[in-house]
């Protein structure tokens, strides 16, 4: 039995999921080129990869599964919930990953120094961890509320709270839920615990999203 159809994915794909991240990428590239300054270039680069990409990924994920006009038809086929979940979220993560890596490459070519964020592995974790967390939160929220809007407002709320009170997030027990620690506080002693906690939270969100997606009658 055919389990995955690239043709179907492309036919039903909403292309704003592709052009908007690319447009956003281009905007930050232009911004970097306009504000040619070593310190500002680094700030723009980390704002894009560590703060903007998780926001874009989160909102895209909130609409990824339930905003499908053929969702009832999909449920009528023997496609498993895990497959739907994987197809839709991994595609979003892939696009965000391409954008992040392309921007890092561009930034390195323009002379941005990423050493304050640690080695290459930690640089990748700095954008990957919050992006996965936002995608997982958005997917879980949308499926839990059976509405794309629930996932969207959760992403918007968590993002704006963490951006505005970022200093407060780095202390007390909030530090384990602080999405931007890897990018804004890379020297924090609890960074490893924070990233493990966020990965665990992402896994839990995706697990419950998968369990809830099995109850197809909720979304019809």
């Amino acid at each position: 039995m055919k389990r995955f159809s690239l043709k179907y994915t492309l036919l039903t794909y909403r292309f704003d999921q592709l052009w908007f991240p690319l447009a956003f990428w281009a905007f930050f590239v232009i911004l970097t080129l306009l504000l040619r300054d070593q310190v500002e270039d680094f700030d723009i680069a980390r704002a894009y990869i560590g703060v903007a990409i998780p926001l874009v990924g989160g909102f895209m994920a909130a609409h990824a599964i339930l905003d499908d006009p053929a969702i009832e038809l999909r449920f009528a086929t023997p496609i498993r919930a895990a497959q739907i979940l994987f197809e839709r979220t991994s595609l979003i993560l892939l696009i965000q990953a391409v954008c992040a890596l392309a921007f890092i490459l561009f930034a390195l070519l323009t002379g941005v120094d990423f050493t304050p964020l640690g080695d290459a592995f930690h640089l990748q974790l700095a954008w990957l961890v919050p992006t996965v967390a936002m995608i997982a939160l958005a997917t879980f929220g949308a499926i839990l509320g059976a509405q794309t809007m629930t996932g969207a407002f959760l992403v918007g709320l968590v993002w704006i709270i963490q951006v505005i009170i970022r200093d407060g997030m780095a202390v007390n027990n909030w530090k384990y839920a602080y999405l931007f620690m890897g990018i804004l506080n890379p020297e924090h002693p609890d960074l490893a615990s924070n990233q493990i906690a966020l990965f665990a939270a992402s896994a839990i969100f995706l697990f419950f999203a998968w369990r809830l997606l099995n109850r197809q009658e909720r979304y019809i």
Partner: protein
């Protein structure tokens, strides 16, 4: 007028019947209630008198404006769009309902539905302050004024854009741009990065906070904005809301003619 009130009443009920709204408001209300009623142990005990009562009311409203308009902007973004997606708009166009009545009814219905739970909660939290903290009864009145001077204009502004913009761009794109705008346009310092913050287009309520409520209690820095600046800010925001509604009305007429 009966058509206008009919649309407004219907939209009000529809908006309030969404579980997502109550989950969103519930989370934010709990967050703020805990933050304000259970401050950290090292925080000074608040004893408000006279002018400080107004300053503290302004401070609370300014803090509420950090997150509440973001929620409202995201949640109201699909309200007009869903009429088109569900085919309801075609049915509505076959009735004697005018475009202006439709857009204004929708707008004020959503605005009233967004504000009503917040106003009730603001009164509740103010009453708790009066009951359990050293705050005079006058604080209830000051909070009500702060609500209408700072929170209501911010909601009115974001709802106008949230109704109009998703008609010309994908919903999720609008939501991303709107969330990013709220931080960039209201909270990034203009000394650090080019932003709308500090101009008369600022929606956060900082103009009213300084101009009408005299800013932070015991603030070392002088106030940035006067009462005249605050009034001008509210007038500019009101004009922008009116302009957005006019453009939205024209757009719907144009779309109807093309259909």
């Amino acid at each position: 007028m009966s058509q206008f009130f009919g649309i407004m009443r219907h939209e009000f009920k529809m908006y309030l019947s969404r579980p997502g709204l109550w989950i969103a408001y519930g989370l934010v209300f709990i967050f703020y209630t805990v933050t304000f009623l259970y401050p950290s142990p090292d925080e000074e005990v608040i004893i408000l008198t006279g002018k400080q009562t107004w300053q503290y009311a302004g401070q609370m409203a300014y803090t509420f404006n950090l997150f509440l308009p973001v929620l409202v902007g995201i949640l109201s973004a699909d309200r007009l769009l869903r009429d088109f997606r569900g085919g309801i708009r075609e049915l509505q166009e076959s009735t004697p309902l005018t475009f202006a009545t439709y857009t204004l009814g929708k707008y004020f219905g959503i605005l009233a539905a967004s504000l009503a739970p917040v106003l009730v909660w603001v009164w509740l939290i103010s009453a708790l302050f009066v009951a359990f903290r050293n705050v005079p009864v006058q604080f209830l009145y000051a909070m009500t004024v702060a609500f209408f001077a700072m929170i209501a204009p911010a909601f009115a502004f974001v709802i106008a854009f949230s109704l109009a913009c998703p008609l010309i761009m994908p919903l999720r794109v609008y939501q991303i741009l709107f969330t990013g705008y709220w931080f960039w346009g209201n909270y990034i310092s203009p000394e650090y990065f080019p932003t709308l913050n500090g101009t008369l287009l600022t929606v956060s309520g900082v103009f009213a906070y300084h101009g009408y409520f005299h800013g932070f209690i015991n603030a070392a820095d002088p106030l940035k904005y006067s009462a005249a600046d605050a009034t001008l800010n509210l007038i500019v925001l009101g004009l922008i809301v009116a302009a957005v509604m006019v453009v939205l009305n024209r757009y719907l007429q144009w779309k109807s003619r093309r259909a």
